[in-house]
C-alpha cells in the first residue's frame, strides 16, 4: 500500500464521516424542529397508543461504558449463552437435548425472544417482529425434527410431512392493492400490461429453474441454511454485484416486476434491491422447496403472535436455564483458560461475575463488538449493517369496504413505503370479531441504516402517526376513524442487511470462527439473512461446536 493511497483512504474516510455527521445532524435536527413545531401546533389525530422498542437503556450501558458497581460474587457455569433470541434458544435446546444441564442463557431484556418477541392487548396477540416461517425444505432434517417436536408437523404421509392444520396460514392468504382494486396474490396482475406480465413470468421461471439447479459440487445453488448452498463460483460471484445490477444486466425493466422485487427485498432484508446482493435477492426466491402432504409448496406457517409462538415452544422447556434482565457487560480471559463474564442485573442494578468454561454469544455482531474488547477477533464490524424497522400494531373496529377481494392474512399495497400489514386474527377460529389488530411493517430504508436509525430514535409518537396514517389512508380511505389504538415498536437494528460482498465475504467467514475454542458465535447476522431457519441452525451449530470441543 503506497503512502499516497493511504492518505487518500484516510481523507475519504474523513470526508465520509463528516458528511455522515452532517446528514445525521440535518435529519435529526429536522425531526426535532418538526417535533417542536407539533408541540405548538398540533394537527393531532387523537389516537391513543404507545411508542416502544427494545430496551435501549440497557443497550446504551454497554455502548457508553458506564461505570458499574463492582461484582460481589462469582459463580461458575459450564456453558454460558448470551442472548435469548432464536439462535440462543436453539443453542440451549441442543445442549439440553444432548444431556447438558450446566448451562445458562442470559437475556438483557425482561423477556426472551429477540426479534420474535410479540405483544398482546385485549383483542389479540400480535407479532412485534418476525411473523412467519415457510414449511421446511425436506432435506432440512434438523428443522423437521424440531417441527415434529412442537407438533407443527403432526405426522408423515408417505415421505411428506403433514403440517398442523391450525398453523398453516388460513385462506385467504395474500392480496395486493393495485390499480384501485385488491387482487388475489402479491404478484402484480390486475391491470398490468401484457408486456410486464411476460417479464414477470420470465423472472419467475428463471428463479424456478435456479431453485432446482445444483452447482458443480452437487449442492443446491440456494439452500436453507445458507451454509448448505453450493460453493459453485459461477453463482457465488453473484454476491459481488447488487441485485439491481443483476436485474439490469438480465434486461428486467418492467416497473411492476421491479416493484415486486423491491417489495420482496424490503420484506426479507429491510432494504431495496440496490442495497442487497444479487445472491441474497435470488436466495429469497430460489431457496424454498418445502413440500407437504397437505399444503402447497412453500406454504406459510403463522400464528397470531407470529414467530413469538415458536419462540415460546423453544423457551418453555428451557425456562430454568434462562435469566432475563441480565446484561452481559464484559468478557475477560482468565488464567485457568475460562472466561470471566460481568453481568449486570438491570432490575437490581447489582453485578455479579460468572466464570464460564464456554460461551456462546448469540447477540448480533454490533453488540459482540463491544463485549469482546479484550479479545482479538480481527474482523471488520462496519461491514455488518442492520436495517431499522417500524412495526405498528393497530387496533381497528372495522375495515372500510374496498373493491376486490376481502381481508387476507398478508395485505400489501402497490407503490407504498411499507410492506403492508398482516391480520393477526387470521388464525383465529372464531367466526366473527368486531375488532382486529393489524400489524403494519415499515422498513426504514430511504436512508442508509445508521442515519435512518437515528432518525427513527428521534421521532415521537405523533411524528410516527404522521408517517403511518397517510399511507393507511391511501390503502383504506376513511380508516382513521376506525382506529382505536396504535402501538409503535421501533427496531433500531431490525435485521441484517445482506449488502453486496457480505454473505460470502472472508470477513463473515472469519466472524463465524470461535475465539480460542472458548467463545462461539451464533446469530442470523452470521448467515447474512435474518430468518428463523438461519438463527435456528446457527444455534445448533454453535452448540455442536461446544459439545465437540468438550468431548
Amino acid at each position: 500500500m503506497s503512502g499516497q493511497t493511504f492518505y487518500k483512504d484516510e481523507l475519504s474516510a474523513y470526508l465520509q464521516r463528516r458528511s455522515f455527521l452532517l446528514r445525521i445532524g440535518l435529519i435529526t435536527g429536522g425531526i426535532f424542529l418538526n417535533g417542536c413545531y407539533k408541540k405548538i401546533r398540533s394537527n393531532g389525530y387523537n389516537i391513543p397508543g404507545s411508542l416502544q422498542g427494545p430496551d435501549a437503556k440497557a443497550g446504551h450501558i454497554l455502548r457508553d461504558k458506564l461505570k458499574l458497581p463492582a461484582a460481589k460474587s462469582t459463580r461458575k457455569v459450564k456453558t454460558l449463552i448470551v442472548g435469548s433470541g432464536i439462535s440462543g434458544l436453539s443453542a440451549g435446546r441442543w445442549l439440553k437435548k444432548n444431556g447438558e444441564t450446566d448451562f445458562e442463557i442470559l437475556e438483557l431484556e425482561k423477556h426472551t425472544g429477540g426479534n420474535s418477541y410479540f405483544g398482546s392487548n385485549k383483542i389479540a396477540s400480535y407479532p412485534l417482529g418476525a411473523h412467519y416461517i415457510t414449511i421446511a425444505n425436506n432435506d432440512d432434517a434438523l428443522l423437521i425434527d424440531f417441527l415434529k417436536e412442537i407438533d407443527v408437523i403432526t405426522h408423515f404421509e408417505g415421505q411428506l410431512p403433514y403440517y398442523n392444520d391450525y398453523y398453516l396460514t388460513f385462506d385467504p392468504e395474500e392480496r395486493l392493492l393495485i390499480n384501485g382494486e385488491w387482487q388475489e396474490g402479491l404478484i402484480p396482475d390486475f391491470g398490468v400490461p401484457i408486456a410486464d406480465k411476460k417479464e414477470i413470468r420470465r423472472f419467475l421461471s428463471e428463479v424456478d429453474l435456479l431453485k432446482n439447479t445444483r452447482g458443480n459440487d452437487g449442492k443446491f445453488l440456494f439452500n436453507i441454511p445458507l451454509s448448505s448452498s453450493s460453493a459453485d463460483e459461477n453463482y457465488r460471484k453473484l454476491d459481488r454485484i447488487t441485485f439491481e445490477a443483476y436485474l439490469e444486466e438480465k434486461g428486467y425493466r418492467s416497473k411492476y416486476l421491479l416493484w415486486y422485487l423491491n417489495y420482496a427485498s424490503k420484506d426479507d432484508y429491510g432494504q431495496k434491491i440496490k442495497h442487497i446482493s444479487a445472491w441474497a435477492g435470488l436466495h429469497y426466491f430460489a431457496s424454498r422447496r418445502g413440500k407437504a402432504a397437505n399444503a402447497e409448496q412453500n406454504a406459510i406457517l403463522t400464528w397470531p403472535e407470529g414467530n413469538g409462538w415458536i419462540m415460546k415452544q423453544l423457551a418453555g422447556p428451557l425456562k430454568d436455564h434462562i435469566k432475563t434482565s441480565s446484561l452481559c457487560c464484559d468478557l475477560k480471559p482468565m488464567t485457568n483458560g475460562h472466561t470471566l463474564v460481568t453481568v449486570l442485573n438491570t432490575k437490581t442494578r447489582l453485578t455479579e461475575n460468572i466464570e464460564a468454561e464456554k460461551i456462546i454469544l448469540c447477540a448480533p455482531q454490533f453488540v459482540n463488538n463491544r463485549l469482546l474488547k479484550n479479545f482479538n477477533r480481527n474482523i471488520d464490524y462496519k461491514a455488518f449493517n442492520y436495517s431499522p424497522w417500524l412495526i405498528a400494531n393497530i387496533t381497528i373496529n372495522e375495515l372500510p369496504e374496498s373493491k376486490g377481494i376481502n381481508l387476507c392474512w398478508d395485505n400489501v399495497a402497490y407503490n407504498t413505503p411499507s410492506v403492508g400489514y398482516v391480520n393477526s386474527a387470521q388464525q383465529h377460529l372464531k367466526l366473527s370479531e368486531d375488532k382486529k389488530v393489524i400489524t403494519y411493517y415499515l422498513p426504514l430504508c430511504d436512508f442508509e441504516p445508521a442515519v435512518a436509525r437515528l432518525a427513527a430514535y428521534s421521532r415521537n409518537y405523533e411524528q410516527w402517526l404522521d408517517i403511518v396514517i397517510p399511507e393507511l389512508e391511501i390503502i383504506h380511505p376513511g380508516i382513521t376513524k376506525a382506529i382505536e389504538n396504535i402501538d409503535f415498536w421501533v427496531w433500531g437494528h431490525g435485521m441484517i442487511a445482506p449488502a453486496k460482498d457480505f454473505i460470502w465475504s472472508d470477513n463473515l467467514a472469519k466472524a463465524k470462527l470461535p475465539v480460542d475454542d472458548k467463545i462461539f458465535f451464533a446469530h442470523s447476522d452470521l448467515s447474512g439473512v435474518s430468518i428463523f431457519e438461519e438463527a435456528f441452525h446457527q444455534g445448533i451449530n454453535a452448540a455442536k461446536q461446544v459439545l465437540h470441543v468438550a468431548s
Binding site: 392444520d165 406454504a299 367466526l431
Partner: protein, 503 residues
Amino acid sequence: MNKKLPALLLISVFVVATCGLIYELIAGTLASYLLGDSVTQFSTIIGVYLFSMGIGSWVSKYFEKNILSWFIQIEILVGLVGGFSSTVLFLVFESIASFRIVLYGFVSLTGILVGLEIPLLMRILKDRYEFKDLVSKVFTFDYIGALLASLIFPLLLIPHLGLVKTAYLFGMLNVAVALIVCLNFKKEIRASKYLQGASFISIITLLAGFIYADKITSFSESQTYSDTIIYSKSTPYQRIILTKKNKVLRLFLNGNLQFSSDDEYRYHEALVHPGLQALPFAKHVLVMGGGDGLAVREILKYPNVDSVTLVDLDKGMTGLFQSNKILLGLNKNALLSPKVKVINADAFSWVKAQRKKFDFIVIDFPDPSNYAVGKLYTNAFYKLVKGILAPKGLMVIQSTSPFVAPKSFWTVNKTLESVGLKTIPYHNYVPSFGEWGYIIATEPDNVYKKPQQYLPGLKFISKESLDLMLYFPKDMGKVETDVNKLNNQILVKYFEDEWANVL
C-alpha cells in the same frame, strides 16, 4: 240556535271517526302480524279499544271548563299517539316480554282519547245547534267515517303505504282537525296561538315520521322482500328478518332464506330422521347451527333421546325462537324443553374444547358463502367433530344443493371422507330451496341400516322416500374435487362460482 252545522265541522267529525277506526285496525293487524292468531288478536284489540272508548266517554264529564281547548289538545294527542303507535310497537317488539303491555297500553290510551272526542265535540256544539240535528249528523258522519276506514284500510292503505306510514298519515289528519277547529273558534280560545303552534309542530313531527318511516323502523329492506316484514333485528353476527304472507312465515339471515314455514318440514325431516331413526339407542344429540329449533323439534319426537345440546353462535337467534309466540308455535317450544340445552358459542372453539361424546350430531350451518363460515366445512373441523362422535354414532351435515352446486356438495363429501369417515349422501326436494343435499357420516366400520319404519305423523319421510333420496341421478352425480382445508378454502370459491350462475 237554528244555524246549520258548517260542513267543515262535519268533515272534522268524519275525519276523527275514520282516524279512530284506523288506529284500531292498525293495532289489530300489527298484533296479528307479530303475535299470530288473528282471531284472538283482533277480538281482544277491538274489545279493549271499545271498552277504552267507553272510559273516555265516561271521563268526558269531568271536563268542565275550556272544553274547546281541551278538545283541540286531545286531538293533537290522539294524532301523536296514533301516528307513532305502529313505529313504537315495531321497535319494542324485540323486547318481547313487555310487548303485550305496551300494545294494550297503546290501544287503551288511543281508545280513551278517541272516546273523549265525540262527547266533547257534542258538548262544544250543543249550544250552537239544534240538538236532534246535531246528534243525527254527528253520528251519521261518525259511522260513515268508520265504513270508509274499514274499506280503505285493507284495499288501499296496507298495500300502498304499509302500517307505519298509514299511522303517520292519519295522525296528521287528526292534528289537522285540531288546527281547523282552533282556527274556526280562535276568538273563543284563550291560548289559541299556543294551540296553533302545538298542532303545527305536531304535524311537522308526524310528517317527518311519515317521510323517514323506513329509516326509523329500519325496514328499508321491505322493498327487497315480497312479503311483509314483521320482525327485523341486527345482531352482532347477522341480520335476522322474518316475513309473513298469508300463513307463510319466512326467515332470512343476511338476506338468505333459511326456511319457509310451509315446506320447512321437508328439510328438517330429511335432515334428522334418516340418521336418528337408525339409532334406536341414541341418547345424547348435538345440533350445531339451527338456532331456529326446527331440527330440535324433530329430534324431540324420539323418546329415547335424553338430551339435546344446541350450539348456535347467535343469542339473538335462539332468543327469538325461545320467546316469540308464532315461532314457538313453529318449533313446538322445542328450545324451551327441559331436555334441551342452548349454548351460544362459536362452534369451532366449542367443539375443540368439548370432551363429551354424542350419539347423533346434526350440523346445520349456513351455506359456505364466506371464509368465516367456510372454516366450519373444513377437514380440521370435521376431525374435531369426529372426535366427539360416539363410536356407533352418526352425524349429518346440510351440504347445499347437489343440483345447483354439485362441486360444493361433493367437496363436503370428499372432505368428510378425507378425515376417515364413511359417508352416505342423499337429497330431497324442498320447494323453497330447490333440490337440497345432506350427508350422513360415520366411522368406516359402522354399517348404516336404512330405517324400515319411521315415527308416526311425519309428513315427508318414509322408507320409500329415503330410497329415492339416496339415489343420485346423473345431473347430480359425484364429481371429483379436492379436500376443503383451512389453508385453501376451496369450498367457498366453488360455492361462490356455482351459485353466481343461478342468482
